[in-house]
Symmetry: C2
Subunit: 408 residues, 2 copies
């Protein structure tokens, strides 16, 4: 398996473009990605009960195949009622026409940005026309697309892997994502939706949805910047099969490469989280169930008291246990082992649920570990066989600044 | 019903004291409250799975009657294993002896403060001796006790109501609480546990626990400063019956006064929340179930994006709906009505799930409402018959500062 340069068009037969439609003041704000042939599609949607208009339309259409996807940033088209839904249908029809695609349902649509405002449709339709003409393969197209879908992000997030499968075929999986980033004054938007698009030229069967869900559960569904799930989250996998060969569903190399792509992108989102100064990685082992392990990880990465302690390199490990205790995971406190890893050192904190040490020097060593750019928390709960790993970020002054400033 | 001066000793037969034991550097850090006769006791405990040693002991003992309660601040006696449990038993035995109470189980014990350190028992036992000698009625005793249980609190929290019951008896309900407050350098502690003690001279039956739970659910269980539940939370009601008369369980005046005491204290905790600049009140109406209504309220008051928007008076109402959509409450977005009340103005935001307006002037009015010291969010979900109200606070730079600073 080889990590290669490039983004969404690295896999065969995918073109992309990113243009400035005018929804945002200055930056690229509309992206289109297409496949030369209809691609099997697998999509994860937000489970927030308040769903943006494009999420509602996509869930209703539930496309098994897609040939194109249109994304605008700057406006989420959420809380926009019937008019919002109509706007999605218009975007879809317009894009299908501009791209020469007969079946409108082969075009996916998503938006990201401010909630509660109607789309400026003349600008959006103009953007679709322009992007349709600029579709191309290659690094420049990758970059424009990755930039066009950004909101508070401070950098583009793309990755590609090339991997040889068991049947000898060489396939590519590429991905691009956007996620909450530190805001800059002319890009002030509010809603740090996570979007990701994965393209591959591998052949996948119609039954890939379970594996897609599993990969989502182990990657994007295990990250948190602030614990607030968006109305617009969407993760899209498009597989056009142009690399040929057998179906890759059960190929371990394919699954590994797919997970790598998703995990790299998910990590990039956290790394660029709003106001982030440190990434927090939490690994829970020895849990009695998979759900319990995931719940324990999420409870820790979402706790504001854990996040602020890590921001301040405050060796306040009691908060980690407090957060663990608020999870849905069953455990006995007397079995718990806690270790903190950072700055190249590994510090045992709790054995059998009680602190290993209490003197000031040891506390200083914990603080030193917490001063790393990445702070890893390892919790061994007992002798259960289930594990989970997740990623979050600290809670800094800049997080408050970014999110307290005026919307418009 | 009359609100009166005073705190925990305002009800007949309750004495209190607060002393400096030396666990904290300078401030009062150990409090004792006693009843002249054994009082029926009703206690709410944290549901965090990681429970401090005193919480474990109290839950195991499950006292139906209490004659005294000992509280230390500065150290939570949590994550302290067997030694922590032994320390609780020693505190209890020592207090029973110092107070001349034959049955140790008539003495309650709780701690609050730093997690993961052992108690300095010589100091604690000295403090218990001293407090036992200083027990008194009156304002000074009230004040000392209220101060001794504080950690990051910036002010004492006490309240008392006198009320005439249906049978003509005049009873008093008094309460004292502590909760997360802005930190000052010499008081740096980490764990903003909520503790509250309610004393009354009313007569209560053994069956009062359900009503006690209900009152807790409508008051302390509806507040949030940061969404992180403590390992040490405890709320204690002691009813010594010295006012005489019939059992007050079913007396509406008693229940109303009790709820007033609890709600006033809960509100004070939020008002003194860490880094708070504004209180957020959320009222959800028209929900299909009581649990749904409460879940909707909690999801909104816990959302970091809602909290930061309110800190910055940012009229970003989409975040309120995002948080609502992440709750366990069922609703149809097309039925939702949202209103924001603040600065003496009431601003309709959404009708039938879509924004009422979109022009800049209206947005400025929303911002004006959000500039109030208290921002009230009213959500009408539909035509369900259930309602819930809860209280939270904004998320400010000071919250980050308080919680990122070094523990010791």
């Amino acid at each position: 398996m080889e990590k290669i340069e490039g983004g969404i068009t690295a896999a065969q037969g995918f073109k992309a473009a990113g243009v400035h439609s005018g929804v945002k003041y200055r930056s690229l704000d509309l992206g289109v990605v297409t496949s030369d042939v209809p691609a099997k599609s697998f999509i994860g949607y937000t489970s927030n009960k308040v769903k943006a208009a494009p999420v509602q339309v996509m869930m209703e259409t539930n496309p098994r195949e897609l040939q194109a996807f249109v994304i605008n940033s700057g406006n989420a088209n959420a809380l926009t009622g019937k008019r919002g839904i109509e706007d999605v249908y218009n975007m879809r029809a317009h894009a299908a026409s501009a791209l020469g695609i007969d079946d409108e349902e082969l075009v996916g649509v998503i938006s990201t940005g401010l909630i509660g405002r109607f789309l400026n449709m003349p600008k959006i339709l103009y953007g679709i026309d322009r992007a349709s003409k600029e579709l191309a393969y290659g690094f420049e197209a990758d970059n424009d697309f990755a930039e066009a879908i950004m909101t508070t992000d401070t950098r583009k997030k793309e990755v590609a892997y090339r991997v040889k499968l068991g049947d000898g075929s060489l396939i590519t999986i590429a991905g691009v994502a956007k996620g909450s980033g530190m805001i800059s004054p002319h890009m002030k938007v509010l809603h740090a939706t996570t979007l990701s698009f994965i393209s591959t030229d591998a052949v996948l069967s119609d039954d890939f949805n379970d594996k897609w869900q599993q990969t989502l559960d182990e990657t994007f569904n295990m990250i948190s910047v602030d614990g607030d799930q968006s109305t617009n989250d969407m993760s899209v996998l498009m597989a056009n099969g142009l690399a040929g060969g057998d179906t890759a569903d059960d190929d371990p190399n394919f699954m590994k490469a797919l997970k790598n792509v998703m995990q790299d992108l998910a990590y990039m989102v956290v790394e660029d989280g709003e106001g982030v100064t440190k990434v927090i990685e939490v690994e829970v082992r020895g849990a009695p169930s998979k759900e319990g392990a995931a719940s324990a990880v999420k409870s820790i990465i979402r706790s504001p008291l854990v996040k602020t302690a890590i921001f301040g390199s405050d060796p306040n490990y009691g908060r980690i246990m407090m957060a663990l205790g608020n999870s849905d995971c069953d455990f006995k406190i007397d079995d718990v082992k806690l270790t903190i890893v950072g700055s190249g050192i590994e510090v045992p904190i709790l054995e059998c649920g009680t602190p290993v040490f209490e003197d000031q020097r040891s506390v200083d060593i914990v603080r030193m570990a917490m001063e790393g750019d990445t702070v890893k928390i390892v919790v061994i709960l007992g002798d259960g066989e289930h594990t989970a790993t997740g990623w979050g970020c600290d809670l800094s002054y800049d997080y408050v600044k970014i999110n307290a400033e005026y919307t418009t």
